[in-house]
Amino acid sequence: MNPDLHLWLIPLIPLAGFLVNGLLGRKFPKPVVTAVALMGSLLPLLWVSNVVLKFGSLTLPHVETLCTWIRAGAFHADFTLQLDQLTLVMLCVITGVGFLIHVYSVGYMAEEEGYWRFFAYLNLFLFFMLTLVLAENFLLMFVGWEGVGLASYLLIGFYYTKDSAANAGKKAFIVNRIGDFGFLLAMFLLIAHFGTLSFSEVFGRIGADPAMQGGVLTAVALFLVLGAAGKSAQIPLYVWLPDAMEGPTPVSALIHAATMVTAGVYMIARTHVIFDRSPYALAVVAIIGTATAFFAATIGMAQTDIKRVLAYSTVSQLGYMFLGCGVAAYAAGIFHLVTHAFFKALLFLAAGSVIHAVGGEQDMRRMGGLRKKIPVTFWTMTAAVFAISGFPPLSGFVSKDEILYQAFISPNSAGKVLWAVGLLTAGLTSFYMFRLWYMTFFGERRGGAADATAFLDDRGAAVHARRDTKLTAVAEEPSAHAHLVHESPWVMLGPLIILAILSVIGGFMAWPEALGGSNWFGHWLSPVFAGSANGAGAGSVQLQLELAGVSTLVALAGWFAAYLMYFANPALPGRITARMHALYSLVANKYWVDEIYGVLIVTPVLFIARYILGALIDRGVIDGGTLAAGYSAQGLGALVARIQSGNIRSYAGWLALFAALLLAASYFGWTAHFWMR
């Protein structure tokens, strides 16, 4: 019998924070807002750690039912929370990283108009994200699922006076809706077949019937993948994530790197029971993941906006996680999720610190030589770069290698191919990360004070926000920064350092046996993924060592290439791009995917809506039909009125004729009776 953990407190505290700030924040002085917001993220963290302490003594999964939410006929969905290892991992990541980013934002957003609004939204996000991972049934999970979408919509559009931000927010929400469409259909199928959405019942029923393979489960799984692809920005629905960078940098770090975008991975892991029964769906997941990883990495190589590089790298890393799940190495996927949360959050925050330092500049071509000026940022960033590029023994190395290894040994026929592409992607990753590293911190400062101000408008967001909210004093601030590049305040650096440490040592949680570790993390998670047979590939310590070596070499190669092109010989990139210009422009323009979607989907839909449905059918057929009916009646009316010539003799003639006819009729009995009835 488990002790009562009051899990519901974990999501509800941030909700309270949101309500307080959201309703009263406008009136509050800044410190109060800050306090409320930090409480809204710190208290859940403390509560989670409290749970962690009790965790050992729990019988899992631990379930808490609060009350019924929806009940109709046989169907019912409750507010039910559950706790198991997987949930706990997510809880730790969300609350931990979440809290750090809250702290960071206190510094980063200090001057922003709508400070209170920002933190209210941030707390709201935490609420929904925690609901998502704590949910014990699909429907409640969907609450969080849609909710985080809402929060991200609000935060991306935080600088609402800026059209690009507004559009980005709308795009994110609608694209996510496409994913939700899949999620909904998956739920409908589950209801149709199991009459319930509770994880335990659905998975129990599936587990109880080993004969149940593929078929409907494949359908469910594929719809779920659609949902996951939307949330986790995988092909074909990844397009919203790069645009989402319109939001403030902490948002990018928290929502679009560390937590929300990983919800898709979490969902697949959570519902692995279904995927296990559908190798087909699993293959789809793996392929999508790998393709996305590679595809995004290539785009990442050609980006010049520091945040966009990170955005594509996020997409790419998420691809790895999908790959992990796709080869049924859920633990590996989740572990990469964790490490990625560390170093990618770190990267974003550090980038934010850089941007902060150079007064709102985001274009790497105008940076450089910042190494000395902002050392802390530099060193933390360096740690992150090495981690993501997969240099042992950093966290990224461990998690990514595990995934590649699992892919290699997976019974999946395409396993080797997946592994190869993954490996190549790893090289690309290390290339574009070091490219970023060099362009930002080494060489000479390319963007001067003068142009820094000139580029304020590109950076736009905050500045526009300020302009029209008439905070001229603040508007001056970034240009003030521009000519003396300076390190960020400690409230921002603190989180950087913590995350840096985590990125460095995080790997040891799952240090593979091959290297004398025990993969504690994997074993600890295994109860959750018990019975996913596909996972057990035939591997060996030897093989894992070899693969690790290979990937390390690939990473080094990527670093070396970057070194050549962006440090040793800066002219080189220009020549190369000139040489294969077509390819370069293709990549630099992100394969024109947005444009293609525009031409293939958006434009036709709008055209049909406006001209076919709106004009032709609605105005034409329906309104027209009404009018036609009206006019035809009027026409008949005119005919009838024609009788009324006003001439007495005509009238008399009329009378005479019909009198005669009527006489004849009634005499000969022409008007038969029967059909009148």
Partner: protein
């Protein structure tokens, strides 16, 4: 004898009626209508309605037609011009009238047998018999006609009253 009289005066009637129809000047029409009515009076006699014959001559040919001619004089109505205000009158009316005539004639003749034969002097109604019924069984209608007359007077006065 009876048949001859009938045919003669019947022909008179029809001729008068047609003349009424053909004449262009209202006076002529009026005169031809008098002819019709007088000959009808004779036919009434043949059918043994002596009081009606008298009334016909006095009331119709006398009073009413005089009134007509008087009005014609008053408004000195001239020859009517054959304006073409109505095609329907011909297009619909004449067929109508024709069908009417055809139908009635057809019925009357085809069922000739069901009707009695009119024999001269076989059935004579004296004013006495008439008043017998008129003042007993049909007293109320007789009284009511007085209201009708009143209305007629009122109306004539109200409508034709002199301008002022």
């Amino acid at each position: 004898m009876h048949l001859a009289l009938f045919l003669f005066f019947g022909a008179m009637c029809v001729a008068g009626a047609l003349n009424l129809l053909l004449q262009r000047h209202p006076i002529n029409s009026a005169l031809s209508l008098i002819v019709v009515m007088s000959s009808l009076a004779v036919l009434y006699l043949l059918l043994g309605a002596e009081f009606l014959a008298a009334a016909q001559v006095i009331v119709y040919s006398g009073a009413i037609m005089v009134l007509f001619t008087f009005v014609i004089m008053l408004l000195n109505a001239g020859r009517e011009v054959r304006t073409h205000g109505s095609k329907l009158a011909y297009a619909a009316g004449f067929p109508g009238a024709a069908i009417l005539l055809g139908l009635l004639a057809f019925i009357f003749l085809s069922h000739r047998g069901e009707f009695a034969q009119a024999k001269l002097g076989e059935y004579l109604v004296t004013t006495g018999d008439l008043s017998q019924v008129l003042f007993t069984k049909l007293l109320l209608p007789f009284e009511v006609t007085s209201v009708l007359i009143l209305i007629a007077i009122l109306g004539a006065v109200a409508l034709a009253r002199k301008e002022h």
